[in-house]
Point group: C2
Chain length 345, copies 2
């Protein structure tokens, strides 16, 4: 059978309480006893039963990641994988285990979260999305459970969240194109209900306005975070009478679609159309030409989210009400897709 704290106690000739105290490094245990007990634990191959521990301590030392349902779509996976990698690495450094969960729909998601949290299987939750209205967030808030959002929430001001400054990031991306000499710049956005889409669009607008550049309505196209959206946007743009010489795309996948389309039509990048996009996924540097991209530090995003969550689990009172939004820095990686000044031969 498995060896329990009582077995160790008996063999060491002490009481279970003493063994427990040795385990937790209680100060009032003599060095001698402590050493003796530790030797015996080692000898007997004792490992504490986490369930029993959790039962009394009401703490599990584990957290849970909720994947959004469109994570099922293969494309976004590279992004999520990086995020998870950051979370798992940091969690395990803090001695926490990570549980991953996802539901087929929002109702299932809510059920899972509720079961895990109310059933005391995890101490907190990381949400890998920022939807506009969300039953899961409502549940977490009203239940007072520790959780953090990767992404920004506009509805709830006091929620812990880890995010980029996407407005600034888009501003930087656009500005880069402007500084290369572009004046007619298009924008391919994502779904309008995602906050990230809107933030990036806003950054683009700001940059254009700032330089007093014209923004035709037709230069802004909505799509998904998918290749196809880029493909369609491209063919739309290229048929415009006074078409853009450059574009900002909300996601690298979109750029790939644009690239594919331009390639089919024998257009050249960046000569016929310069491109900058977001996320800097590993493939961005592998396309031809390599794509300029805003690196948003995905791994770092996950790492920080875990850190913030665990901190909030351990000292729930430490929340000062100010620093509840953590912003991960971004940086522009300039590659071939944007290295061209229009009009130049």
């Amino acid at each position: 059978m498995t060896v329990t704290i009582k077995d160790v106690a008996k063999k060491a000739g002490v009481s279970p309480s003493t063994v427990s105290r040795v385990l937790s490094g209680h100060p009032r245990i003599s060095l001698e006893t402590s050493r003796k007990v530790k030797v015996i634990m080692e000898e007997m191959g004792y490992t504490p039963n986490m369930m029993a521990k959790s039962l009394v301590s009401k703490t599990t030392n584990s957290i849970c990641i909720i994947l959004p349902k469109p994570a099922e779509e293969l494309f976004s996976n590279l992004f999520f994988m990086e995020l998870i990698r950051g979370i798992v690495t940091q969690s395990s450094r803090s001695g926490y285990d990570v549980l991953i969960s996802s539901g087929a729909n929002e109702k299932e998601e809510l059920e899972a979260v509720s079961r895990l949290l109310k059933g005391r299987r995890v101490d907190g939750v990381i949400l890998l999305y920022s939807r506009k209205d969300d039953a899961v967030i409502d549940f977490l808030e009203s239940g007072g459970y520790p959780f953090v959002l990767v992404g920004r929430s506009d509805r709830y001001e006091d929620i812990l969240s880890v995010d980029n400054d996407n407005i600034m990031a888009a501003y930087d991306a656009t500005n880069h194109l402007i500084s290369m000499g572009h004046e007619r710049i298009g924008f391919v956005s994502g779904p309008p209900n995602l906050i990230v889409s809107r933030d990036r669009l806003e950054g683009y607008r700001k940059a254009m306005q700032n330089k007093g550049l014209e923004m035709k309505a037709e230069w802004i196209v909505e799509g998904e975070f998918l290749q196809d959206s880029g493909y369609r946007a491209m063919s739309f743009f290229m048929n415009l009478p006074n078409r853009p010489t450059a574009l900002v795309a909300v996601d690298d996948m979109v750029s790939f679609g644009v690239l594919r389309g331009l390639n089919e039509l024998k257009y050249k990048v960046p000569e016929d159309l310069a491109i900058v996009s977001f996320n800097n996924i590993p493939l961005s540097e592998l396309s031809s030409p390599p794509i300029s991209s805003i690196d948003i530090g995905i791994y770092h995003l996950g790492y920080t989210a875990s850190q913030v969550l665990i901190q909030s689990i351990q000292k729930p009172d430490n929340h000062d009400g100010y620093t509840n939004r953590f912003v991960i820095p971004h940086r522009l990686i300039v590659r071939e897709s944007s290295m061209y000044t229009p009009g130049k031969q």
Copy 2:
């Protein structure tokens, strides 16, 4: 406070045991009582405490995924994300939670596994690799813990594993190139201690021998499952006096590296070098040109692994000793990177 089984019992005017039995659908509970209790549970928002349940039932309804130690790098490979997706989907269908874990080195991995299993935090483990000698496997076997290997183990015959027929897969890949008219075919392998590397190499050899084609030693290069390996292999191959006209790469990531290198040197794919690789990760069709790849059903691999593990947890005795190796079918996806017959103009 959280509502317990006792609270429900009191409010319903029954004993805790009765509530427990209602919960588990015990036969000797009157329909009337059952209904009454269920209403009250609903009213009070009762959720069973998993820790308490686990403590007595010695079962956690969760499993654990162990990521290989170079997870930091390999993680970036979409392969693992797909695998995890399959595992999580199937597990949640079976009512199991999934914990993901990894260590900085083999010792840490072993510690984590031991802590989780002996500490009764998980019921079983899925190993996402198949190394040659492995302390973790030794531990799992000697402890009699339920586990399954994604990949093949040559050392332990009776281990549950889910795998592809990698020998056949490589045979097919190579044969495809041969049937396109190639005769000088190179092979970029992975780390030699991974069984998958060796199996694929063997399949390549078989195909070459079968057609009586020459296999120069210098046409076989060892590397990692990373882009860089492809990059290096490429530059090595292209400098060979009588260089290969095609190559088989052990992983799609390797192909990306090859592609990048060839692109830099202004070589054309597939005209100057045709490529086929393995895994068919979602990005394979997005590169330019799209890469021919052996689809090994990664998602399916994960899905099956979870199924097999959970089955073995639930009926440990059901193991017949025969069907302990599950083989997931593969299929060749031909794309542009291999659609060229050498010598043709």
